[in-house]
């Protein structure tokens, strides 16, 4: 197997029809027939773009989804949307409030996965990595009115913690697990559980791990976990108890600035004796500056030295590139794949 395989990590912008038309030749878009619904066109366009950029593991940039928590909550009974909350600058997400016991209305990735599989062909199913929002993040990005309101001690920390535990495990058991079972039944082999909220309460890492294991344990697929913008050392060692996780996909480039080697964290993982793969973030997704190929290569090789095992590294952007323009996305991704190729060459020549 090739070292330093490359992969996408999450969402891409919603391409307009004009964008798709303008880029179709460059990304070698096929089967873009008139009358195809726009979400479907976007999905095929994203797949084509990621392939043309040279990525090994791809998905469709979440073209069928609104947003990573809003999309699932549209299919979760017991919750309703209450408005937008700011994430940063002029970026927001629509937040739901849980007002009754949660339950799955219908598996919310079924149609999307079928569509993607049809686009790439079943022989390439192994190249697909399906991103799915984790139970802890779904819980954390929701107002937990129902389970909190049942707590006799709701005005104290212990009451809030009990309510949080109830919600995380209810989502994991009654919403996420049946969704994942459905995906596995459809042929999904590689599933990335997105837990960007895990870093928000490091003291709840064990709960997040319980949610992860409740959702995935025993299912016949390879599961990875994506974390970002978190104080990773504070999650250790509790996070390592997620035994069903085969890879940690982490954001690094955002914090890799002159004089501060973000990838040194991998040495800490090494000290814990953790031998799982690393999805290595080498592109800062919140800045337009294009990482030079040499910088990508340097980041990969630096990470390899810290980790002590280049075979365990997969190369990806820090997170989804949905806030960047298509020109920037293309430049960043092609530099990423070129940087990975250079890293392979340098590794081979010592």
């Amino acid at each position: 197997m090739t070292v330093f395989p490359t992969q996408e990590i999450g969402s891409l912008p919603k391409a307009t029809p004009e964008t798709i038309d303008a880029w179709s030749a460059r990304v070698r878009l096929e089967h873009d027939t008139p009358g195809t619904p726009l979400a479907e066109r976007r999905s095929r366009f994203n797949l084509a773009l990621l392939r043309a950029a040279g990525l090994d593991r791809i998905y469709d940039g979440e073209a069928h989804r609104i947003e990573m928590s809003e999309h699932p909550f549209r299919s979760i009974r017991g919750a309703e949307f209450v408005g937008h909350v700011r994430s940063f600058d002029n970026k927001y997400f629509r937040k739901a409030a849980v007002r009754a016991p949660v339950a799955l209305d219908h598996p919310y990735h079924r149609d999307e996965f079928r569509s993607v599989l049809a686009s790439v062909g079943s022989s390439r199913a192994d190249a697909l990595k399906v991103p799915v929002t984790g139970a802890y993040t779904l819980s954390e990005w929701t107002f937990n009115d129902y389970y909190l309101g049942r707590q006799p001690d709701r005005y104290h920390r212990a009451g809030r913690a009990s309510a949080q535990r109830e919600l995380v495990l209810a989502i994991a058991r009654d919403v996420l697990r049946p969704t994942l079972q459905d995906l596995v039944g459809l042929g999904a082999r590689l599933i990335q559980i997105d837990e960007p909220a895990l870093g928000t309460h490091p003291d709840e890492t064990a709960l997040a791990v319980d949610g992860f294991e409740t959702a995935v344990r025993g299912l016949d697929a390879e599961f990875t976990m994506h974390l970002c913008y978190s104080d990773y050392p504070r999650l250790l060692p509790a996070i390592l108890e997620a035994r069903s996780c085969r890879e940690w996909a982490l954001e690094f480039a955002n914090r890799d600035v002159p004089g501060r080697d973000a990838y040194a964290l991998l040495a800490e993982l090494r000290e814990y004796g953790d031998t799982r793969r690393i999805g290595l973030g080498v592109l800062d997704v919140h800045r337009d500056a294009i990482e030079p190929v040499a910088l990508v290569t340097d980041r990969i090789l630096r990470a390899s030295r810290h980790l002590g095992d280049p075979d365990r590294i997969r190369v990806n952007p820090d997170c989804g590139l949905r806030t960047r323009s298509w020109d920037v996305i293309w430049a960043k991704l092609t530099h990423m794949t070129q940087g990975a190729a250079k890293a392979r060459e340098q590794l081979a020549t010592g």
Partner: protein, 314 residues
């Protein structure tokens, strides 16, 4: 006889209309003039809410602040905006200030970020929180030495406002309870002396949230400010000593939930806190700030403040 006053303790959420307008602005779908008009309308909406609820502090909502630290990140040339970084244990992010040399302050550019009027409350990052959230490249590790330097620069900015200094100035210090300073905390006390000297005629508040204020009440009581605020639902005050003349700020609206608080139950907790701490002035407000909620939910929850004040005055 205890005096109860009400006010918002941080940014309002943006209205749904402003959310849409700022998205449109970023995508070039509306002009900068239309974007500015959307901000003005949203600020008027916030002012109307503060007026309708007869709040004793008026903030204008701080809708233009990208994050708690950004004004200083933008106006101090010694500081630049660094990586996007998670803001405590929330799903919000800030640009980490990169401080390359001690900021000088005093350039008179803070005024446009602050509300005006007889009940205006300036809400600024506290110097300890600013230092801990920043990357101070000239200071070793997490040394607290720069805290006083940052406070001196903030004091210079406040002095440069001249007669336009708001009558209330609140310093946000979540880090004081999230990760308190060790030892005597002399740098923090010194920092607040500098700020107090620059604000002889303003009511000064230090507001904490995202943690338990119980363990740091002694430090808070040493600060030369009129009011120390804390999250009533996070703080353990069982073994607290009385404060020496400070009023307290009670964070009584939980911005992490859309579930409404019950005035009678919250009043019981407030009375317990004021008795324990010996406070004769109590500011009632949200804790943490309201911008963790959508706008409509925030407005609904704010209705607690006048109801609670009335309950407490009975």
């Amino acid at each position: 006889m205890t005096t109860y006053r009400t006010g918002v303790t941080g940014p309002f959420p943006r209205t749904e209309a402003l959310v849409q307008a700022t998205r449109d602005l970023d995508r070039g779908r509306i002009s900068p003039e239309a974007g500015e008009a959307a901000f003005v309308r949203a600020e008027a909406e916030v002012a109307a809410v503060e007026e309708r609820l007869a709040l004793d502090a008026r903030t204008g909502g701080y809708l233009r602040w990208p994050d708690l630290l950004r004004p200083f990140t933008e106006i101090w040339p010694e500081v630049s905006a660094g990586p996007l970084t998670r803001f405590f244990e929330t799903n919000s992010f800030y640009r980490q200030p990169i401080v390359r040399s001690p900021p000088q302050g005093g350039r008179g550019r803070l005024g446009r970020w602050l509300p005006k009027g007889p009940n205006a409350r300036a809400i600024l990052p506290g110097p300890y929180t600013f230092r801990r959230l920043a990357e101070v490249s000239y200071a070793p590790d997490m040394s607290n030495a720069p805290v006083a330097e940052i406070a001196a620069a903030m004091a210079a900015e406040l002095l440069s406002l001249g007669p336009n200094v708001p009558p209330q100035v609140q310093f946000q210090e979540p880090m004081l309870v999230y990760d308190p300073p060790s030892g005597e905390s002399a740098e923090v006390v010194t920092a607040y002396r500098l700020l107090a000297d620059a604000l002889p005629n303003s009511e000064k508040l230090v507001w904490t949230y995202f943690g338990d204020a119980g363990p740091v009440l002694r430090l808070l009581g040493r600060l030369p400010v009129e009011v120390v605020g804390f999250d009533l639902f996070e703080s353990t005050l069982d073994h607290a000593e009385k404060l020496s003349g400070h009023g307290i700020g009670a964070g009584v609206i939980d911005s992490r939930s859309t579930l409404a608080e019950e005035p009678a139950e919250v009043a019981r907790l407030v009375r317990s806190a004021e008795t324990t701490l010996g406070a004769s002035t109590v500011w009632l407000g949200p804790s943490p700030p309201l911008d963790l909620l959508p706008f409509n939910a925030a407005v609904e929850k704010l209705a607690l403040l006048p109801a609670l004040a009335e309950e407490l005055r009975r």
